[in-house]
């Protein structure tokens, strides 16, 4: 057998999207008479080529609508390419979805046989592994219940248990990792690690999880607008993928208007910015320190002022509260403009944040300025730790 498992050569694909609901005879006749096409042609893939070697764990990443699922369906021979070709050496089982052919009116047992048949198992082959499937899914007591009485978690477990029995040389997986609870995720991980080691198996994985790409894949491609824009090591491809988001979020954020009008306080904020790498931005790169700079204007001078900021996350939790009291000295404010800047060590998690800013006369206790959520910014990047970690300080483990 050749060492190339899947060879994709210059594949093009476009879809005809009907302009309105067009699957009736009447609209076909009307469109024909008016010389209308009745559909718009959308190019989904524009010349995609790559080879997947036997034993590869190959990742395909891209944004929604980039054409990666279409590509997967073409590899799986569900769609046919318009131009170009796909050559597959060996048996291939696609998992566009777990539990294909599951029917809620059938029992768990019947569904296993139906699903198995679709994955290419014979009745006796399923008989042989039936016990394993049920055990793995932990559903011994439920196999004679109708599937409609299963919880969604049980359904997924059953489907996955059948799926991992697939004996094909090539497995094609679309986002199947994205479901299930933590225990199920662990099972998925174990399964993937096992086939990653098995060099006779080839896996093609489409996913949004850069974490999965880094952990399992040995090669990956990034698809944007139907073309491969990056291919090679999973690390390179995963960061290229994250870069797309950083850039896009940046463009989005820059459009939003900066400081709000603050006429009702004695002091006004003229401008507020977050500066990272000497450039003002609303998109902060993960784990890179940044500076908040605030230009204020005061109609009079004050002998003793306090400036304070909060950084609040999207859930409203105060992640950071700090003020000029930390300086342990009195701050005088002259009439006219002044600038305040705060250097911050960036240990924050990815996400959306707001800044509250306030100033107070420390002597008279007069509130000089107060504005909650005066500024909004995002932190974006390749977060390695789990999403539940609110902060990301440097950590060094040692186990002896």
């Amino acid at each position: 057998m050749s060492s190339v498992a899947i060879s994709v050569k210059n594949v093009h694909k476009s879809f005809r999207l009907p302009n309105e609901k067009n699957n009736s005879l009447k609209s076909a006749i009307v469109n024909f008479r008016q010389h209308k096409k009745g559909y718009t042609e959308q190019k989904v893939l524009r010349g995609v080529s790559f080879d997947i070697q036997r034993g590869d764990f190959f990742g395909i990443v891209g944004r929604n609508g980039s054409g990666k699922s279409t590509l997967l369906k073409i590899i799986s021979e569900i769609y046919s390419p318009e131009k170009g070709s796909v050559t597959v050496n060996g048996s291939l089982t696609p998992f566009i979805e777990l539990g294909v052919g599951f029917n809620p009116e059938l029992t768990g047992r019947e569904n296993v046989y139906m699903n198995g048949a679709l994955l290419g198992f014979s009745h006796t082959e399923i008989d042989e592994v039936y016990k394993d499937i049920v055990e793995f899914a932990e559903l011994e007591k439920f196999m004679d219940q109708k599937l409609k009485n299963y919880s969604s978690g049980m359904q997924v477990r059953l489907a996955f248990s059948v799926a991992i029995q697939a004996k094909s040389d090539i497995l094609v997986l679309d986002e199947v990792l994205a479901v299930g609870d933590e225990a199920f995720q662990r099972k998925c991980d174990n399964f993937f690690n096992a086939i990653k080691k098995d060099k006779s198996k080839t896996v093609v994985l489409v996913t949004h999880s850069m974490d999965a790409v880094r952990r399992f894949c040995n090669k990956a491609v990034l698809i944007t607008e139907g073309k491969i824009v990056k291919s090679g090591s999973p690390d390179k491809v995963a960061s290229a993928y994250s870069d797309i988001f950083i850039q896009e979020a940046r463009q989005q954020n820059e459009k939003q208007d900066s400081p709000k009008n603050t006429y009702n306080w004695p002091i006004s904020v003229e401008e507020m910015n977050i500066v990272q790498n000497k450039k003002p931005t609303k998109t902060v790169v993960f784990r890179e320190d940044f500076t908040i700079s605030i230009d204020i204007k005061s109609p009079q001078s004050y002998n003793e002022v306090i400036c304070a900021i909060d950084i609040v996350d999207a859930a409203g939790r105060v992640i950071l509260n700090t003020s000029t009291r930390e300086l342990k000295e009195k701050i005088k404010l002259a009439k006219g403009t002044a600038s305040v800047s705060i250097d911050i060590e960036n240990i924050f998690a990815e996400g959306e944040y707001y800044i509250n800013y306030a100033m107070k006369d420390d002597f008279t206790e007069e509130q000089l300025f107060k504005y909650p959520e005066i500024y909004q910014f995002n932190i974006i990047g390749n977060q390695v730790r789990s999403k539940s970690s609110l902060t990301h300080p440097d950590v060094t483990w040692s186990v002896k």
């Binding site: 076909a28 696609p94 566009i96 048949a117 679709l118």
Partner: protein, 272 residues
């Protein structure tokens, strides 16, 4: 692309599972379950019998007309079941087609096999009626399975053709409902062909007998119940061209169906 055939192990297994699933799901949640497959044509027969034979005196003077009526209804039910369910089958299984690669014809074939199972059960009822009615079989009955086979091929061809057309044009469903209704009355099922000859002339009867379903129904009746119960095409005319037309239609539809289904099937997954 690899060519797949019906005899490959995987396709056989798949066909079997689809038929079993169909079978299990069809009367899901009904008390009498599969008995309905028998009861439906029997009740239809009872209604037709009371209205047309008892009150309107259709087929008076024709021996065993009741048995002929039943056989006709059962063959018609089979034809409609295979064609109508076959037509819906590809669209109905769209979820599978979009997610996994397998030969599309298996879907149409599986619904037709459900039809065949029902036909088999219903023929048992016909057999009982024939015995009660005192019909004695002769050598011509040996041809009956061939007639059924031709009927099956014709029904299946239409099922393939319609299933592919239906993916693109859902209008086909109401159109077929109307056309099949008209076809039912244009076929000598509830009335004997002798009646057409008596009242409308031989020409009308000849026209009716261009319809393959009419030809097959009359052949089956003649083979199983006796030549006096049903006038066959060869009794109307000995013109070889005339006699060939219905079979030419069957072959023509078959070729058209294979060509069109093969041409369209690669795109089913995208178009459903």
């Amino acid at each position: 692309m690899k060519t797949s055939n019906i005899f490959s192990k995987r396709n056989r297994v798949l066909l079997r599972e689809l038929v079993i699933t169909d079978f299990k799901l069809r009367y899901q949640g009904s008390v009498l379950g599969y008995a309905w497959s028998l009861l439906k044509p029997l009740f239809l027969f009872a209604i037709m019998y009371v209205v047309f034979v008892h009150f309107l005196r259709f087929g008076a003077g024709i021996p065993h007309f009741a048995a002929a009526l039943l056989l006709g209804i059962i063959m018609w039910t089979f034809f409609i079941e295979v064609v109508s369910q076959g037509m819906q089958s590809i669209v109905g299984r769209g979820d599978l087609l979009r997610k996994i690669k397998f030969p599309k014809y298996i879907i149409v074939l599986s619904t037709s096999i459900s039809g065949l199972i029902n036909l088999g059960l219903n023929l048992l009822v016909v057999a009982v009626i024939l015995i009660i009615d005192g019909v004695s079989l002769n050598a011509a009955a040996l041809l009956f399975p061939i007639t059924l086979l031709v009927l099956y091929v014709f029904s299946l061809s239409l099922a393939f053709l319609f299933s592919a057309v239906y993916v693109k044009y859902r209008d086909l469903s109401p159109i077929w409902e109307i056309v099949s209704q008209a076809l039912f009355y244009a076929t000598p099922i509830i009335y004997p062909l002798q009646m057409v000859i008596e009242r409308a002339g031989e020409m009308a009867a000849k026209l009716i007998m261009l319809n393959p379903i009419a030809v097959l129904t009359q052949e089956a009746r003649s083979q199983l119940i006796g030549s006096e119960v049903a006038v066959t095409a060869s009794q109307l005319s000995s013109n070889i061209i005339y006699l060939t037309i219905p079979y030419a239609i069957i072959i023509g539809v078959g070729i058209l169906a294979i060509w069109y289904f093969r041409k369209r099937s690669a795109k089913f997954a995208e178009e459903i």
